[in-house]
């Protein structure tokens, strides 16, 4: 090689580093779409043994995450709940696209960390929300994550239907074109990010499953009292099912069954909308009361009455109808440290700042023949390290309530008498129009439009620890 050629070659080498640096700068932020974020790297390094970190860095990240997840499942079956949260944290850092981990992880946090009598540990709920929100951020096209988060807000746990609707709607907004397939290329611009316009819909196709997301949204709208919205949504579900039956024969049976459900629900909702405006008046007086009986230290019987018997007979479309005793209503109760404010959201960190030394117990009892009574032995979960019910506070707040919107507390036949939001019920003592649902992860200015029945009893530590049977009301 001649000296000149050498000089040119050296110059080219230096010059070629320019595109290398530029490309790296372009690649870096995009790499994090399937890699841990920068601020997580250090924490992963601290959380994992060095050899794991090295193996993970050498292209086995997802494999390590997958194996840790299998190990986590073992922890769950062994009842080693404390180990699960940090594991889920590390796994989702290592592999932010393992959707199963967010789903199952949140499900564990929602339901499966329980006391000896199968009551969930409610301190984990904000964490579950944070985990799912992070999962959605990392996987914005995976609509089942939205649906799971919406369902966490919707079902039993929190009864925050506004949030449920919000997440269901977000899921419905995810378009097929946000996903991998199919791409369409704009012939003028050559861009691939054009929406595929569905010839039947006249707009981009939704990606969300009409049963999981579509039906969920309709139920949430109805629970929130937006009946017209629910009717529109059921109709939308019907359209979607019909379209998919034609377009995706492989999932035809699923959609045919979904279609039948949606058609029946649409019919029922339209019917109920008609008669619930008239048949729920005048409001029945529930004559609600509730009390707790301490049977032994930290052992209770939660009891009370609610006159749902009065709802057995009512007019339906102008006719007198008798539906028999209206059982199946559930009264919820929650015992917690007085003054405790449940955080709306907890950051999902490696070492979670769970509210320790806090006692929160929530359960519900079904009303049969106008009465409810349910035992709770909290003593079993009050001992050892980090018990679920430590009873460290001096004063406790016990709230009993009935939420007419809650599908788990108020079955549809009952709703036909008391209305969508409790228009057909009242109580001389305990009607609550504050819109604050105990245990719901509501923000400070969020307020539900609902007629709750609510009674609060305060207990001291001595009341709880005392021996001998004693009633508090």
């Amino acid at each position: 090689m001649k000296p000149n050629a050498r000089l040119i070659a050296i110059f080219v080498v230096i010059l070629l580093y320019v595109p290398i640096v530029l490309m790296q700068a372009w690649i870096d932020p995009r790499r994090h779409e399937f890699e841990p974020k920068n601020d997580q790297i250090g924490t992963i390094g601290k959380a994992l043994p060095i050899e794991f970190t090295l193996v993970a860095a050498a292209g086995f990240r997802e494999a390590i995450a997958g194996l840790l997840w299998v190990r986590t499942d073992k922890f769950f079956h062994e009842g080693n709940y404390d180990a699960i949260v940090p594991m889920v944290r590390i796994i989702t850092w290592l592999d932010p696209h393992n959707v199963d981990v967010y789903q199952t992880g949140a499900w564990h946090l929602d339901y499966n960390f329980t006391d000896n009598e199968q009551r969930s540990d409610r301190r984990y709920l904000p964490l579950s929300v944070a985990l799912l929100e992070e999962g959605i951020q990392a996987n914005p096209t995976i609509t089942k994550l939205y649906a799971d988060l919406a369902f966490t807000h919707y079902f039993r746990k929190m009864c925050n239907y506004e949030r449920a609707i919000y997440w269901y709607r977000k899921a419905q907004d995810v378009k097929e074109t946000d996903s991998k397939q199919p791409y369409s290329t704009d012939p003028d611009t050559g861009k691939r990010d054009q929406y595929v316009i569905d010839p039947i819909l006249g707009k981009p196709r939704p990606l969300a499953d009409p049963t999981i997301v579509g039906h969920g949204l309709a139920h949430a709208l109805q629970a929130n009292g937006d009946i017209d919205g629910a009717i529109v949504q059921w109709q939308h579900c019907i359209d979607e099912h019909k379209r998919l039956i034609i377009e995706s024969p492989e999932t035809k049976y699923q959609d045919e069954s979904g279609l039948r459900v949606a058609e029946r629900n649409l019919f029922e909702t339209i019917e109920r909308k008609k008669f619930r405006t008239v048949d729920t008046q005048p409001p029945i007086n529930l004559d609600f009361d509730a009390w707790v009986v301490r049977t032994a230290p930290r052992q209770f019987r939660f009891e009370g009455r609610a006159n749902f018997i009065g709802a057995t007979a009512f007019k339906l479309e102008g006719h007198q109808v008798t539906w028999g005793p209206v059982d199946g209503a559930r009264i919820a109760y929650r015992l917690e440290d007085d003054g405790y404010q449940q955080p709306k959201e907890l950051p999902f960190e490696l070492n979670v700042a769970l509210p320790k030394n806090v006692t929160i117990m929530q359960d519900s009892a079904s009303v049969t023949h106008g009465k409810f009574s349910r035992r709770a032995n909290l003593d079993q979960d009050s001992h050892g390290d980090n018990p679920m019910y430590p009873f460290k506070a001096e004063r406790y707040k016990l709230t009993f309530w009935f939420d007419p919107r809650d599908p788990a507390s108020s079955p549809p036949n009952l709703g036909d008498r008391i209305g969508w939001l409790g228009e057909g019920l009242t109580d001389s003592k305990y009607l609550d129009l504050s819109g604050k649902v105990p245990g719901s992860l509501q923000g400070p200015d969020e307020k539900a439009n609902v007629r709750l029945i609510k009674k609060v009893i305060y207990l001291t530590r001595d009341d709880i620890m005392g021996t001998g049977e004693k009633k508090f009301e």
Partner: protein, 264 residues
């Protein structure tokens, strides 16, 4: 050009008949184990671990093949004196180097392609409940190939001025450092507590941008999770391929510059 082709095909034939096939055998066994080891897990976990481990094994085996091959391509010719008969023919030194590199690269390509195909077939036979042929796995194998192209270029570059023994550790060290893209990037940025000094940041930034970033090529994630959408994946892959090609070119140019002055 025909000279380069002749040398590349000679190198390919020679390399394919060497002990590289042992690595291949190891991979085959590892995969067979893989296909039956995780059967007790849930189907989702099973598939994720199989995919992740399978691609990881292909990648690691590929790295070993590339390094072993790359560090020996030139020294072997010198040791066995083949280089004398070749360079005394009308072969320019850069043609020799490029021919050897391409021959080595072809060997790596065929090897990982075979592993990839074996893996695709294995997944279809033993893992996928519907026995789908998951061709997207080969997309991951393609990215592994470009990663290995860079490994190969790096090893060849070092091989023109170090012994294979030193080169082995050198190439692996750079490979490991380059695989930690995330870590070097994080250390090159501001630390959470602001305690990292500007000098340290600068050093890691330089490492991050100048050391070949093998971590860029770990795009197995979308293959492992086919539901997940990575925006602009095609552009990302294209950029990475371009990165691999340009970086390999730099390595080869340096190798040519050194080799041109080297006595054999």
């Amino acid at each position: 050009m025909s000279t380069i082709w002749t040398l590349a095909s000679g190198t390919f034939g020679e390399a394919m008949r060497r002990k590289i096939l042992n690595v291949f055998l190891f991979v085959a066994i590892a995969m067979i184990v893989l296909f039956f080891a995780f059967a007790s897990f849930s189907p989702t976990s099973d598939m994720i671990i199989t995919m992740a481990t399978g691609l990881g094994i292909i990648s690691m085996a590929g790295v070993f093949i590339s390094v072993i091959l790359g560090i020996n391509l030139i020294p072997n010719e010198i040791d066995k004196r083949t280089i004398y008969t070749i360079l005394s023919k009308p072969v320019k030194r850069h043609e020799f180097l490029i021919g050897k590199f391409l021959g080595g690269l072809a060997t790596v390509f065929v090897n990982i392609l075979l592993m990839g195909v074996l893996f695709v077939i294995g997944v279809a036979l033993f893992k996928d409940p519907h026995h789908h042929i998951r061709l997207d796995i080969l997309e991951g194998v393609l990215m592994i190939f470009f990663q290995l192209m860079l490994v190969n270029a790096l090893a060849v570059m070092f091989s023109v001025f170090t012994s294979p023994f030193v080169n082995f550790f050198l190439t692996f060290a750079v490979y490991i450092m380059g695989s930690m893209s995330s870590i070097t990037e994080a250390l090159g940025g501001e630390s959470a507590n602001g305690k990292r000094s500007a000098v340290i940041q600068g050093i890691f930034k330089a490492i991050h941008f100048l050391v070949p970033n093998f971590g860029n090529f770990n795009v197995q994630n979308p293959i492992i999770h086919p539901d997940v959408v990575i925006q602009n994946m095609a552009k990302y892959i294209a950029t990475n391929i371009l990165y691999a090609i340009i970086y390999s070119l730099i390595m080869l140019l340096i190798a040519i510059l050194v080799f041109d002055r080297r006595e054999v």
